[in-house]
Structures are given as C-alpha cells and as structure tokens.
C-alpha cells in the first residue's frame, strides 16, 4: 500500500493505492494517522479509489485508524469505495461504522455540513 497525503480545506485527504492486506501496512497507516492527529487535524478522509483490493486484515487496519480518530475526538470518512470493497463492508456490517461516499467531492461536502 502507498499513501499520498494532501489537504482540501481543513480536511486531510489520504489516498491509498495498491493493496491493503496487512504486514507492514498496519504500522505505516497507524503511524500516519497518529501524525495527523498529533498535528491537531480533526477531519480525515480516506480515498480508496486507487486501492486495487483489500482483505479482512486490511479492513482491520482501517478499523484501527477509525478507532484512533474517534478516540481523539476527530472524524474519519471514506470516499471512492470500489464495488468489491463496498460489498465486503456491507456483509460485515462495517458499512454501518464507516461514513462512506461515492466521490471525494460528496465526502468533502459532508464535512462542511458538520
């Protein structure tokens, strides 16, 4: 997995690419989240549009990020969730945990409403 980071207004956008499947990915992702929270950011958007696939270990990595963000009083959302990944979120009921959007624009707009 690779991570590209940028800011859109007061939202930090992380673009994940490649595959999210465990191993080193867990520490890389969690450290990035901690850095962002440590800088005082409160809104994080994970763009999954370039992620080719994810396994259940990768889902666990996203959950660990979600938990860290929530515990810090911040908000994490997902955008550009591919059909294959969305179907896994649905059957595992993680779709009820993650606030996810079809496009980055919709996700960013949802942050503005809060």
């Amino acid at each position: 997995m690779n991570i590209k980071q940028r800011e859109a207004g007061n939202v930090v956008v992380l673009e994940l690419s490649g595959k999210l499947m465990g191993g080193d990915d867990a520490a890389v992702f969690q450290n990035r989240i901690k850095d962002i929270l440590g800088q005082g950011h409160k809104k994080i958007l994970i763009n999954l549009g370039s992620l080719s696939w994810i396994n259940s270990t990768g889902l666990g990595i996203l959950i660990s990020g979600y938990t860290s963000v929530k515990n810090a009083g911040a908000v994490l959302k997902l955008a550009n969730v591919a059909e294959r990944i969305q179907s896994i979120l649905m059957i595992t009921k993680l779709a009820t945990v993650f606030d996810s959007y079809s496009t980055e624009e919709e996700a960013l707009a949802s942050f503005e409403k809060e």
């Binding site: 595959k19 465990g22 191993g23 259940s56 270990t57 179907s87 059957i91």
Partner: protein, 142 residues
Amino acid sequence: MGAPESWDRVELTVPSVLDYLSLVNAVSEEFGLQMGADEDTRNAINSSVVEACTNAMEHGNGLDREKRVILTLRAAPGRFEIDVSDEGEGFDPEEVQDPRKPENLLRERGRGIFILRNFMDEVRFRIEPSRGTTVHMVKELK
C-alpha cells in the same frame, strides 16, 4: 475433492508470505475471466480466495515461509470449486464469532471465514492434525 478430471484445473503453490496474495488474486481473477464469470462472481471468488489464503498463511502456517499454501481452482459449466490447503495444526472454524454483533464490530480481526461463508455457496473445512487444513469452497454460477 472428487471433481471430474475433465474440469479445467489450475494449481498454484506459494510460500506463506503475504506479498504473494497479489499473485493469488491475479490468478483467481484471470481464471474467472477465462471461464466467463461475470464481475460480481469474480469479486466474490477473488475475495474468498484471498481470505482463505490469508488465513492459511497467517493462522495455518504462522507466516513460516518454508510452509506452503496450495490453491486449486476448478471450473465446469455453472460451477467453480476451490481448495486452499496449508501445512498447519488446524483450528476449529466453529469457534469463529459473528463479526456483525455490536460487541465485535470494531474488532480488528476475525472476519475472514465469515466473508468466505457469505460469498460462497458452500464452505467446508477438512482438518488433519499435523498435516494441515484444507478449506473447500463452491460457487454456483447463476
């Protein structure tokens, strides 16, 4: 497991290294394409194959790269059968908790077998202590 020899059959053996999951996914996707499976079916099969191989590498073989995971894909008109075998000690799949329960929803592990059972039409485990576990999966084409 008892499939006719006339079925198309592909076998892949990989070490228990997570990086090989990309190859596993690619082989599964290409096999599905070659057999004419639609995108939904391929997604279900690919996700299940990756989950089964992840389990075999991590929980079966303990990520010991000397231990192999063997993936066998078979297809006949209207039907896919998949076996994933490891060389581990085996485990009780019935002990796996439902990850959809509120108390389990934010657990970081424990979704792999649940995903298999939801995406595939049939999932069976053959556990042979000291020889390994084989998970046998069937997907009927609609």
